[in-house]
């Protein structure tokens, strides 16, 4: 198992390296001098030179590149151009809110999506199946900020069950749960729609296999056949989709945080955009990509857990 993990980690290194390079290039090809962005057009040449020296943008490109790679390797993602605080500190201050939101929405997506998908597969082409397919198509057509606004209108403004601004007190678990619920439903329903679709497809495929017939023939209870034999073999595509969905989830969480006025990474990134805080954007991009690479790694490891044959390859 350890060897498998190490091999996968090594395989992720070139991707990480390429991601860092791409982020570096994207940020450098931007027209405009960051020093002038900070100081404004009226800056004296001396002041501009001082800021360039602080940011390191007076160095030749290759040296900036090496410094950037070196810093990233030691977990230093730089400081915000605007507030001058380390990016990692800014991120970790709001991270619990984003983790609450994404974790809660994942739970909602899985708890609704997997049973709904199995149910639809078991009633293939009947009313339940057709309804599940149409509803999931509707669910994944909802831009998350639209479903967020609709939920907010109904449950926070009309019925007043939930607060309009879901800025939770991190020390109060009940408050956290209450305030994360509505945004997590907005985010989780889209995810449930994806999971329903892929679970249905994967279950249809796995239930038509020979081992399912064998299990039934030898008298395994139907419930066990579906949930153990069927679902286990259907779980590789489901895990793949959940893993791939994390990229969409990250983007959607930005939108959800805006709609529900929650603190979190999304708020940080929008703030950085509005203030043209390029170093912050660069750091956030790197952090996001690290996150995706880590999720891919976890997905790979889960394949090995679900299906031991994967480990040998």
């Amino acid at each position: 198992m350890l060897g498998f993990v190490l091999r996968r980690l090594l395989a992720a290194l070139p991707t990480l390296f390429a991601v860092l390079t791409l982020v570096f290039v994207i940020v450098r090809i931007v027209p405009g001098d960051p020093a002038l962005v900070i100081l404004g057009d009226q800056a004296t040449p001396e002041a501009a030179a001082a800021v360039r020296a602080r940011l390191g943008t007076d160095q030749p490109l290759w040296r900036q590149y090496i410094a950037f790679l070196g810093a990233a390797a030691t977990g230093d993602f730089g400081s915000s151009m605007v507030t001058n605080r380390p990016i990692l500190a800014e991120v970790s201050a709001v991270l619990p809110h984003t983790v609450d939101l994404t974790a809660a929405s994942m739970v909602i997506g899985i708890v609704i999506g997997i049973p709904a998908g199995i149910w639809a597969a078991l009633h293939r082409n009947r009313a339940i199946d057709v309804a599940a397919r149409l509803l999931s198509l509707l669910g994944l057509s909802f831009p998350v900020f639209v479903s967020g606004i609709y939920l907010l209108l109904l449950f926070a403004l009309h019925w007043r069950w939930f607060p309009v601004i879901s800025n939770a007190d991190l020390d109060d678990p009940l408050d956290r749960l209450h305030k994360v619920l509505l945004p997590a439903v907005a985010l989780g329903l889209t995810m449930a729609a994806y999971i329903t679709r892929v679970t249905r497809g994967a279950m249809l495929a796995s239930l038509s296999e020979d081992y399912i017939r064998t299990a039934r023939a030898k008298g395994v209870p139907w419930r066990r056949v579906v949930w153990v034999h069927g679902l286990r073999n259907a779980s590789i595509p489901i895990v793949t989709v959940v893993g791939l969905y994390v990229g969409i989830l990250i983007g959607n969480s930005v939108l959800t945080e805006i709609v529900f006025n929650r603190p979190g990474l999304g708020k940080v990134i929008v703030g950085a955009l509005n203030q043209r805080d390029y170093t912050m954007l660069q750091g956030l991009m790197v952090i996001y990509c690290f996150l995706i690479v880590v999720v891919n790694l976890i997905t790979d490891l889960l394949y090995g857990v679900i299906d031991p044959r994967v480990k040998q390859t």
Partner: protein, 293 residues
């Protein structure tokens, strides 16, 4: 001179897309999706003739009028007619997403096809680059690119196209890998056809339907990403009407005039749903595993 040999050796099946379209036509979901989408396209094309008001004309006296009355869907905080703005906003959604998907389809498709055809180390490196592109969360990548280049129509097209290139490269590469081993391609090579001719005259027609079906599915995503970027404030600049921008303005006035956010949101939902229904039906029709459902 070579036509006889080509006809003999080329796969004899009719175009995959034609069969898919025929099969999709019998699918009520696809039909409903096509009707929704066509209505919105018609509204966008005919906007100058059917919009009751100028979409950017402000009329402060009639601000925040509720739906009904003189204004079918009410007015916004500047007294602009919401219905007229929705019609014009559809143009931005459709133009940006069509442009982005066309660009991604051509670039990504070509990259995937050429990479698969050449194979070897070149293929390996190209696909590695595509994987890197895939490891950026797409909305964040789009957001970065628009923020850096500036919120112009062309930049939105570029940003959204960039997020979709890698999937198109993958979908074009996979069948190319299989096709290039087939007899009719080898025959073409033996007859001295140029690589370009083999790629574009013999491989392309055989992978086109898969790429086009994927394009129809990605159109829905492109509409959603464009709307999301406008909602964040990175869309085509005001006073041009965009659905995402209208939702955002409406959201800011949600206590006084909830319809301002509800209608543009509904418009986005309907277009994305219509496109998804079409794409879904087309995919079911082309996927041999799902064909007998």
């Amino acid at each position: 001179m070579s036509t006889a040999a080509e006809v003999e050796l080329a796969p004899t099946r009719p175009s995959g897309l034609k069969r898919a379209l025929a099969r999709a036509r019998g699918n009520p979901t696809t039909l409903a999706g096509a009707i929704i989408t066509l209505l919105i396209v018609a509204g966008a094309v005919l906007a100058p003739w059917i919009a009751p008001f100028d979409p950017t004309e402000q009329n402060i006296i009639d601000r925040l009028q509720s739906p009904g009355g003189d204004y079918l869907l009410g007015t916004d905080q500047f007294g602009r007619d919401v219905f007229s703005r929705l019609l014009y906003g559809a143009r931005i959604s459709l133009v940006v997403s069509l442009g982005a998907i066309a660009a991604a389809m051509v670039t990504g498709g070509t990259i995937g096809m050429v990479s698969g055809y050449i194979g070897g180390r070149f293929d390996l490196i190209t696909m590695q680059v595509m994987d890197v592109l895939l490891s950026f969360p797409s909305l964040i990548l789009g957001l970065m690119v628009v923020a850096l280049l500036g919120p112009e129509l062309e930049n939105l097209v570029i940003a959204i196209a960039l997020t979709a290139i890698a999937p198109f490269a993958r979908i074009a590469r996979a069948p190319t890998l299989v096709l290039k081993e087939r007899a009719f391609i080898e025959a073409g090579r033996a007859m001295g056809f140029s690589h370009l001719r083999i790629l574009f005259a013999h491989i392309l027609p055989n992978i086109l339907s898969e790429v086009l079906v994927m394009g129809s599915l990605w159109m829905a995503t492109a509409v959603r990403v464009e709307a999301s970027l406008s909602f964040i404030g990175l869309g085509v600049k005001p006073p041009t009407a965009t659905w995402g921008g209208m939702t955002r303005d409406g959201f800011e006035n949600i206590l006084d005039a909830p319809w301002l956010a509800v209608f543009p949101g509904l418009a986005i939902l309907l277009l994305v749903l219509g496109l998804n229904m079409i794409g879904d039906g087309l995919r079911d029709a082309t996927d041999p595993k799902l064909r007998n459902e």
